[in-house]
């Protein structure tokens, strides 16, 4: 092989790729792949259009002004709760399962890469795509609202976008975990949608049923809420926008009075755990499992 073709004459002389460089190569590839994909475009468009709709509807019902922006934020929180987890869960769930199904995973893992590097690279690449999608969505909403002279609080919007990214990372991690287990894309996607429904609907209904049936004390209700990343996002966002959790009723008041300034830390820790634990479990499983 000639010198012109590669900077090193032989792989024996080449410096083995480092952990970081392999992750960077794979995440760059994953990011480009995601940004070119239809799902990215569709979710970003849907998020931006729905965000605009929610913003206008909220502002109109409140007659504009800063209080109107509070309603807008609440509307956006609810929109994020629906769209972002679905986007992140399905993106994560599809990535490894689809490559396995198309025979690409075996070829990739037959290269000089470690499995943990592949997993982390994919996570970071998709995280970048989700970050871009969320920022674009919020950017469009902020831009159009400002263009129309509606009241906006840029700091609140940025906070909300940052919390949305944190939620997206947690859900992406869960999606990747599903992907390492699923042999087929359809199974991975189905499991992701099921989990999304469970997080969005079943947990809310379950909490309500729990409160009514078992007369759950308020501290336990709050503890259970902390275990659901969507609830955590909702509480954290409302607290960030409103500086209080009054809107959540007695549970919110209890949390505010009992934990005060520690709430931010508790919410952050919950989302951090939801991000770190699934990807760690996925890494262990993916590293030990044969690749069919």
């Amino acid at each position: 092989m000639s010198d012109a073709m590669t900077s090193s004459l032989s792989v024996r002389d080449a410096r083995p790729p480092t952990f970081v460089s392999t992750i960077a190569t794979i995440s760059g590839r994953e990011l480009r792949d995601a940004l070119r994909s239809r799902w990215f475009l569709l979710y970003t468009l849907a998020f931006a259009v729905l965000g605009l709709g929610v913003s206008y509807a909220s502002a109109a019902s409140a007659g504009g002004g800063v209080s109107g922006f509070g309603r807008t934020s609440a509307g956006l929180v609810n929109l994020v709760l629906l769209v972002v987890p679905l986007m992140a869960l399905t993106a994560g769930a599809n990535t490894i399962a689809s490559e396995r199904e198309r025979g690409m995973l075996g070829y990739l893992l037959a290269q000089a890469v470690g499995r943990v590097e592949v997993l982390i690279g994919k996570f970071l690449g998709l995280a970048g795509a989700l970050l871009a999608s969320i920022c674009l969505g919020f950017g469009v909403v902020a831009g159009v609202l400002a263009w129309n002279g509606a009241a906006t609080k840029p700091a609140s919007l940025i906070q909300l976008a940052a919390l949305s990214v944190a939620l997206a990372l947690a859900m992406l991690s869960v999606g990747l975990l599903l992907s390492t287990f699923a042999r087929r894309t359809s199974v991975a996607t189905g499991a992701a949608v099921f989990l999304w429904l469970a997080f969005v609907l079943v947990s809310d209904l379950g909490l309500m049923a729990g409160v009514m049936t078992f007369k759950l004390p308020i501290e336990r209700l709050f503890a259970i809420s902390l275990a659901n990343p969507l609830h955590v996002f909702k509480m954290w966002s409302l607290q960030s926008v409103d500086a209080s959790l009054d809107v959540l009723g007695p549970a919110g008041l209890y949390a505010q009075e009992t934990y005060g300034r520690w709430l931010h830390l508790m919410f952050g820790a919950s989302l951090a755990l939801w991000t770190a634990v699934p990807i760690a479990v996925a890494a262990v499983f993916f590293s030990r499992r044969s690749t069919p």
């Binding site: 092989m1 000639s2 012109a4 073709m5 590669t6 900077s7 090193s8 004459l9 032989s10 792989v11 024996r12 080449a14 410096r15 083995p16 790729p17 460089s21 392999t22 190569t25 794979i26 590839r29 792949d33 070119r36 490559e99 198309r102 025979g103 690409m104 075996g106 070829y107 893992l109 037959a110 290269q111 000089a112 890469v113 470690g114 590097e117 030990r288 499992r289 044969s290 690749t291």
Partner: protein, 294 residues
Amino acid sequence: MIEIDGLTKTFGRATVVEAVSLAIGAGEAVALWGENGAGKTTIIRCVLGLLRYRGSIRIAGLDAWRDGKRARQLVGYVPQELGFYDDLRVHEAVRFFGKLKGLRINDVDESLARVGLGGHGGKSIRQLSGGMKQRLALSIALLADPPVLVLDEVTASLDACGRAEFVELLASLTKSPGRATLFASHRVEEIDVLASRVVTLQRGRVTSDVDAADFVRRVGARNVLHVFLRGDRVTDALEVLNTSGISARRNGRGIFIAAEPAGRARALHRLEQADIRVEDFEIVPAPAAKETTP
């Protein structure tokens, strides 16, 4: 260069590879031969660290599972059929996989030209034919001259013409005095051109390990020519061949022609003379005697 010792692989209760031991030195090209399900691909996937296994596999002294990344750094791999990122352009694919090997590729076009893909660097992978994808995989496998080459039935997805061209390319590019090559095949013509040794597998066990020339001489004589024709020409073809003294019988859309290696060309020539177009052909073990252990 490759040392396999007591390799055993089970899927559930099924033992697919059992106590296989094999050593491949630098400059050797070892073919794994056997019917479908004999364990050829499973051994290759174990060597690549894709499957967990019992026993030991070492590549240049590195454990294929525990030191997988470093071991695979020394391996170029061409799969049976390339599952690539379809949206990637050809030159992007070469650069991407080169980066994974720790290489900075200065001239992708030259690398592609060696495998006959010169001028195709700007195409997206989905635009490539099966044969071109295999050439791309070979180009990537040979980046920076790896000391170990692993090929898994690389011509299985190609037509007869593509097969012949690809085997010729493999023969011209893969033979190197310092390289160990392990490949799975069930085509005698590939073994004839590429292998120095042939390891025969049956139900996951090694049944013989012989010199390639000896293997080809013994097995080649027991093979038949399988010719594919248009359905309405099969009867005519049988008549032409049988009246020429060539033993032939129908097999679905094609015919089996039992002839010594030298007689196969004569059979094809007779069909051409009779204006019967051969759509494809392959040399396969005689159906009645699939046992191919010499």
